[in-house]
Structures are given as structure tokens and as C-alpha cells.
Symmetry: C2
Subunit: 188 residues, 2 copies
DNA sequence: TAAAAACATTAACATTAGTTAATAAATTAA
DNA sequence: TTAATTTATTAACTAATGTTAATGTTTTTA
């Protein structure tokens, strides 16, 4: 749990006591590469904090290929919020890109914490703000850049993704076919 | 202000007194079609609640065309959050698609309200959650749909946009050239 | 209300990205 | 460690979208 504790200390003005209250609501889970934490159609019961490894959320598009909507490396939260908040079925899957350790908090504990532990509300706000900013630049790249430019953008701004994601997932995150990504890389 | 009052009553468990405290932080502004509330490069000082009309946020892409990131009709908030939160220059503009009336709250009053008026925090969370869900499906359409499918998606799910936005802005929201949108419409 | 400006449509052509298929390389499992 | 499986690359071809330019339509302004 030290990773989440460290994360809280770094990001919030929070007392030792409050940290303990938060931490006790989380539970450590290990997951092997390619295993699922959530399948589309199911209700998202947990939000996850990535301690080590890498997870992604993705869905299957009309042609049956998968599209990666979000990637979380260490020290980031992941979970399809609309499903979690409203407790309705998710159209996304969560799975492990690498073998990972995650801390999960249930919807029940989260709701309870939102009322009883002030820092959880702040944590949630920060999570939403981070998601907002990530989604913001994501939409911007789709609106204004072509496939090659989107790859170059990631190359310049997100070395971690370039380094740790296989071609296939990188392509599905950029929104192009893996063959197109190969072509793009060969021409740079 | 009745519109915002109504909105608060509808969406939050909030007392008359609290509503008054919130409302007094807002200021009514009128804006003519095509006028700007924010220009890229400036720091976003206000978040706006649309009372009537329609606003959009957009930026200029590398070829000098504009891309529309977000559209707000009546009873929705608008503002580039990353600029507002962090008080850093925005790369987006806000302008009026139609002649509009908006209520604005300053960053200063917002920050103050976040600490002193509980419902403002909830309002902010709901704003972030709404933005999350909107951005979520937006990214999904870019990842999994081609231009024609994105138009059809809007046609089925957002009649208001189809009805009230000119072709040019609709195309810039879908991420295609206006000529392409004309072609798509003629083939449906 | 007429003229000007902005916007929308259409068509021909150019470019980008998707598709298919074959092969090579890397990873996983026996 | 080898065989099997998955992933990555390449090339030829196809389909979709962008670009340019001409024309028609609508909106704005004088």
C-alpha cells in the first residue's frame, strides 16, 4: 500500500489518520498479463489504482477489432467511470497489458468514503480533472492531427507508451490499423 | 438567474439559502453571435453557464482551420477547465454560435465557493462527470467510427446539434472537412 | 432591398489510411 | 529447446477523406 500512501502524501494535504482511513478501503489484487478485471456488459464494481504494471480499457468496434480508450501505468487510477458512478453495464473491458499489482476500492466503500472522508472527495475531483485533461488532448489530437502526426505526438509527449506498449495496442490507441502504424514508423 | 436556480434545484439537494449564496457569485453577460468570451493565449478567468443560445470551444489546427471541441446549449456549463483550474493560458477560444445569454463565475469566486459552499463542490463534481461522459463517447466515436458513421451517430443521438449547428461547425466537430460532410449527407 | 460576404454543394483529382495476403520476427507453451 | 502461436512488417490494391475550384444558396450589411 506504500505506493498509494505516497501518492496521497504527494498530492493532497492529508493527515496520517485520514490516509489510514482511505487505505483500509483498498484491497490489493494481482493480475497476470492479458487477464481481465472487467468485461463489457458487466457493471464496474471497482476503481483501480495501479501499483505496478499497466492496464488498459478497451472496447470492440463494429469490425470486431479492439480500440484502446485509456492506458494506466503505475500511480494512476483506472476504471470506466460512467459504469462505476451509475452502476450500469460497461461497454468497456479492463485488462492487464503487463503483469500488474493494483489496489481496488468498491463502489460501496467509495460512496461511503465520499461522505465520511473529506480527502476522498478531493481525490475523486483530482481523478476527474486528470481524466479531463487527458481526454482533452486526446480529442484534440483526433480533431487536428492525421495518423502520422498522432504517432509523432505520442513519440514526443509520451515516451512511456512508445516504450512499453506493443505496436498492436499503440495502433489501437491512436485509432489506426497496426499495418498503418508499421508503415508510418518506417517512413519517419 | 432563474435558469441556474432551476438547474440547481433539479440536480442537487440544496437549500434556498445555499442557492442564493451560489447565485450571487454569478453575473449575467450577453454576447452576440461570433463574438468571443475567450481567445487562445489568454487565461480562462470564468466558467460560463448557458442561459440561452449556444457557445462552443474551438482551436485552430495546423492548417489554420478551426476544430470544435465542445458545444454547449442552454443549461450547460462551458469553459476550458485546464486553463481555468491551473490559471494557465488556454489554447482554445470560446465564442458564441448563436446570440446568447450566459452566467459567469470567476476563478476567484469559484475557489472561494469550493471551500465555503458545499454544493459548489458537488456542482463541480457533476460538471466534471458530465464532461467525462461526453468526452468518453466522443473518443469512442473517433476510435471506432469513420466520418459517415460519426455523422449518423450524431444524427441519431444529438438532434439538437444537427438542427442548430451550421454545416461548417458540425463538420469541424466531427473532425472532417465541410465538403466531406456535404458529400456524406448527399449519400444518406 | 440590393450588394457583399459567408456558407453549402458538387465534381475531378490527390493523398491518406484500410484491407488482404504473404513473410519475418518475437513471444509463449509444450 | 523446439514447436506453436502471436505479433510486426511489407507490398499491392481498394476505399475513404482531403483539396481545389466552380457554382449555387443563404445570410449579413449598407
Amino acid at each position: 500500500m506504500e505506493e498509494l500512501e505516497e501518492y496521497l502524501i504527494q498530492n493532497f494535504d492529508v493527515s496520517k489518520n485520514e490516509i489510514d482511513n482511505v487505505l483500509e478501503k483498498f484491497q490489493l489484487i494481482e493480475i497476470k498479463k492479458n487477464e481481465y478485471l472487467l468485461r463489457s456488459g458487466d457493471i464496474c464494481e471497482y476503481i483501480y489504482f495501479v501499483v505496478s504494471g499497466c492496464l488498459r480499457t478497451f472496447f470492440y468496434n463494429s469490425e470486431g477489432f479492439d480500440s484502446t480508450r485509456y492506458i494506466a501505468f503505475e500511480n494512476n487510477f483506472i476504471g470506466p467511470l460512467h459504469s462505476f458512478i451509475q452502476q450500469i453495464p460497461s461497454n468497456e473491458n479492463i485488462s492487464a497489458v503487463e503483469q500488474s499489482k493494483v489496489l481496488r476500492i468498491s463502489h460501496r466503500d467509495f460512496k461511503e468514503g465520499m461522505n465520511s472522508i473529506p480527502v476522498i472527495k478531493d481525490l475523486y475531483i483530482q481523478f476527474l480533472e486528470k481524466a479531463y485533461i487527458m481526454n482533452y488532448w486526446r480529442i484534440e489530437t483526433f480533431l487536428s492531427l492525421d495518423a502520422k502526426e498522432r504517432y509523432v505526438y505520442l513519440f514526443n509527449n509520451n515516451k512511456l507508451m512508445i516504450k512499453r506498449l506493443p505496436n498492436k495496442i499503440l495502433a489501437s490507441f491512436i485509432g489506426i490499423a497496426p499495418e498503418s502504424l508499421s508503415r508510418i514508423k518506417s517512413k519517419i
